[in-house]
Amino acid sequence: MFESLYHLLEKAALRYPDRPALRFADQSLTYRDLGDRSRRLAALLMENGAAPGQRVAFSFTKSIDAVLALFALIRTGATYVPLDPTWPTERVAMICDDAEISLWVGSRAPIGIKRIRASIVSNVECDAIALSSADRCPPATGDVPPPQRGIANILFTSGSTGRPKGVEITTESLIHFSGWVVEEFELTNEDRIANHAPYNFDLSTLDIFAAVGAGATMVPVPEKLKMFPYQMAKYIADHRITVWYSVPSALIMMQLRGKLAEHDLSALRHILFAGEVMPKPALQAIARGIPHTEYANLYGPTETNVCTYHRVTADDLACDALVPIGRPISDTRLWLLDNQGNARDIRKNGADGGELLVAGPTVTRGYHGDSELTARRLVPAPDGLGLAYRTGDRVHARPDGVLLFDGRIDRMIKCRGHRIEPGEIEAALSAHHAVKEAAVIPLPDPVFGNRIKACIAPRDGATLTDAEMIAFCRERLPTYMLPDLWQFYSALPRTDREKVDLQALTQ
């Protein structure tokens, strides 16, 4: 095991200095270059306030600069907070406030975010310090020991109260997880690992840290290609990608419109998927299109990174049963909470099912600045060793101990791998002056997991249109949270207990 995330890079730079660490479009960078340049950039970041205990905004689209900045930030010991460059300013400002961020590193300037005191922007047009200026910095003197057990990053996900919540991911979690990935999937410096997920998505930590852990080549997928299944399949072929990791919908899109048979995908050894349920018919179709590859389902909420996994077998592909979420990754302990809230051993009480409880090195330490929510979701582990995370996922075990996902215990929606709290969208809708009441429900979709329907009752005398509401929401919500379907009611239907009848809204 590695001692720190930065040591992953230092070791790779020593062992494989001339191997490509990164290939992006027609550019590439060796491990020596990545080590040297990120070390110099770290000096620049430290001059601007990056230090252990500080949180720094990290807002990049896929690029070589992004990976340089990421390792530079890790070297400073600061916690990086990935912010999607397409998120609306209001949401980014809210997160910067909650995370107390004053330094910004990114591919676009922090326009309109008041609390940012310094910014380092990789795009020279932005009239700021270009990342390339780091090349002119003197080499960092002395070895800055990165913290061993700090918070490596904070991933902000949808919050049911209307405010995103920040999941604190420890350095230990990322080191343990990437070490497990390298071993389980036998990654080597010959591998080329695609990075499809955005940096604010926990999936990207596999692509980056497992790649560096193995001395493999990271191959980020350009943002715009991700919407184009044929171009994406071509990118996999052109770059001879050996490991692909994404949400199921990206794979399903490639199967439907990527003309898989036209591409030479023979280098692909592993296809890993996570983030939402992969429909079995879709997996069967993908496996017919790319038959020589091994498939694995990785499971885990952001709070646990990956905590269980299942290697797909020929038997799995031959039957219609759900793709299992499998067994725990190394050093991870699991229990089921029954209806009375008692923790049960999965091996003994698996068939009864219950809420999955997870303890182990990949589990979060908590939500940034929210001790109340942390205390509700992180409870003493039943074996007395530290804390366990209540996933909110209902699961049950087959007789052989392999776990199957049964759904949520709450209203969380999965859409293209994004987790969406209906409460966050409802809060945005309710902020409109003419909305009396709003509810959001999922409508299942065979490719994208779910589509989102907004149900709105305007205030008396007010008229609202979907166009007006979507324009209003775009100022407040990321694109993936914008409702796809809109329906207006004089009043939302009620259950006998006077609650909004969500079931009736699906009609």
């Binding site: 299944p229 044929y230 419109r257």
Partner: protein, 86 residues
């Protein structure tokens, strides 16, 4: 029966800004505007392609679906027209 270029433009604009990305009529983006900056994402792109095939009546080869061709209403209409000409 495939639509004429003028019809195709109207159909695509209506579908985009009334159905996919509902937009107040006075705020519809121009034909040259970047659709990706105006809310077109992977889910909506898949729906748009299905609409072009079923309602505009032009089957566009998957390999030709690129950011250049799908980036604006103008580029989509030109692409459709070229297809019909072939």
């Amino acid at each position: 029966m495939a639509s004429s270029p003028a019809q195709a433009r109207e159909q695509i604009r209506s579908y985009l800004f009334e159905m996919l990305i509902p937009t107040p009529p006075n705020a519809w983006p121009s034909d040259e505007a970047d659709l990706f900056e105006n809310g077109l994402d992977s889910l909506r792109l898949m729906q748009l392609l299905t609409f072009i095939e079923n309602d505009v009546g032009v089957r566009l080869p998957d390999e030709e679906v690129t950011p250049d061709r799908i980036g604006s209403v103008k580029s989509i209409v030109e692409w459709i027209s070229r297809h019909r000409a072939n």
